[in-house]
Symmetry: C2
Subunit: 339 residues, 2 copies
Amino acid sequence: MSIRDDDLGDTVTLAHGNGGRLMRLLITRLFKPHLGNPALDTESDAASISLPPGDVMVTTDGFTVQPLQFPGGDIGALAIDGVINDLAVSGAMPVYVTLAAFIEEGLEMAVLETIVKSLGAAAREAGVQVVAGDTKVVPRGHGGGLYLALTAIGVRAPGCELGVGRIQAGDKILVSGTVGDHGIAVMLAREAFGLRGDIASDAAIVLPLTKALLEVPGLRFMRDPTRGGLATVAHEIAQACRLGVILEEAVIPISPATASVCDILGYDALYLASEGRVVAVLAPAAAPAALAAWQALEAGQNAAIIGTVGVGRGVQLCTPIGGARYLPELEADALPRIC
Amino acid sequence: MSIRDDDLGDTVTLAHGNGGRLMRLLITRLFKPHLGNPALDTESDAASISLPPGDVMVTTDGFTVQPLQFPGGDIGALAIDGVINDLAVSGAMPVYVTLAAFIEEGLEMAVLETIVKSLGAAAREAGVQVVAGDTKVVPRGHGGGLYLALTAIGVRAPGCELGVGRIQAGDKILVSGTVGDHGIAVMLAREAFGLRGDIASDAAIVLPLTKALLEVPGLRFMRDPTRGGLATVAHEIAQACRLGVILEEAVIPISPATASVCDILGYDALYLASEGRVVAVLAPAAAPAALAAWQALEAGQNAAIIGTVGVGRGVQLCTPIGGARYLPELEADALPRIC
């Protein structure tokens, strides 16, 4: 085989997705080296997996973030973080993920490789194996460089029942850290505003945070505040429980840098995505223990008890000067394509 | 709630993917009614699933077919067929699927609903439940109307060991029906050639075909000849086994209509996708029983024993007049985006 036959080329072409020779090369030379593990058999249509005891949980998530690379991460790591976190906040331990990639013709091969490498590293950090994959190439002008769809499979301890339906009036709402940093980091990376900052995405695997809370009796519900941010999670709680949610503006952690950018550009951090935070609802008596458990972790240094589930409807924000206003449900998209 | 508040609108907008009110409406009013089942809880981050006994198998597949609707199917039904068939040819029974949708801004809501309905109907036909989903909306000009990524989870009887590695020299190769009809049907639907035909896609769930063969001792391997067609499956066999594959041109089933279009436009049906066919490799003594099992099914009326795995390398096509030529591995893409 000559050197030419092995060459993947500098950019992705339609032929890298046609099922033929170049697609085989793309899979064996670019995807497999970074994602390879004993369970990933790129020659089979389906993979055999072996799950530990427990209730099997599954989730799926699509990723279209622009730009593909941003301070604090890229679409590869973000995709693993995002799909793993959906299992984590359900109380599950992730074990396997599958990966479907939609690559736009013309994407630089070096960028694709960096992203796949980053995805592989995040998977290893999360302790999950990429067990099945698929790649499609779409024509130039029909994609955003790269879209990813991941599915995660894991197990949850029998009897671990978390859900928005378990929330009761009087329950406390906690957040594990500052909100909105991911949204601002991605927005600044677009360089469309003439602003440069050192705000890095908070994208991270939240398993340490969720595992810590699973040991706290009185845990009702966890969710990661991604699209639509903290305000959207609050609305989901209010709607599902048919109760009101009261948030205390003064104690919601927002980093000074994110707050500054929001002030300048008129964004509300409460609606911006985080990709490494957890919102949790606990029985009132359990909230202090949960806060202590989070604050004992590096990822939970800025954790806070930020609100209460109560009577009424909708989401209210209590201001430091004693006022209150309703936070509307997200309507127009402040920052599209942040995940 | 006023009528306006309930209105999804005529076309998909970015706000239908932002995590807020319109996304909630899209999910509850368009996706859930067609895909709903007891296991689909659109308010949770992850779904709890319950698998029957057996070895757990998983596969994932992305779909970018253009146009989204074509004679014999659409991207919704095709996506279920495609992902289910990957499990089926692995010898597994599918149980659950997950769905990630990348919707392009501007897609007509009525088209999206027709496709989701078609997907739901195909899932019910396959006996699988859509158990988790995610929707993203990408800006106009950054998608192809709709891309789908599905993951299927199923179980395989313990001891059912199929794989390309089990193939031996002397084994027989069967195909369950005519090849290339899907590729031609999609190509004609593009209306780019001034040709109109009554060729419908062969897209279908192949579970009846695979189940029939699982009962035949001597079954080594099955695959559905999608991207790259029959010739690409033959190359996969040849490469994985380090053996030669000899196909008999005269007995490979090709429908007269597909053959005509191929003649006119210069396509080779052996490289065109089928989405409802199975290629199987069996021990020589088992081939007649497998052929009989397939021909007893409606989907297997045109099944044939089309070749042999033998010594040598590469894929050879024996012609009716006694000659033979090597079929090259697919290089340029004859018909991109047929799945």
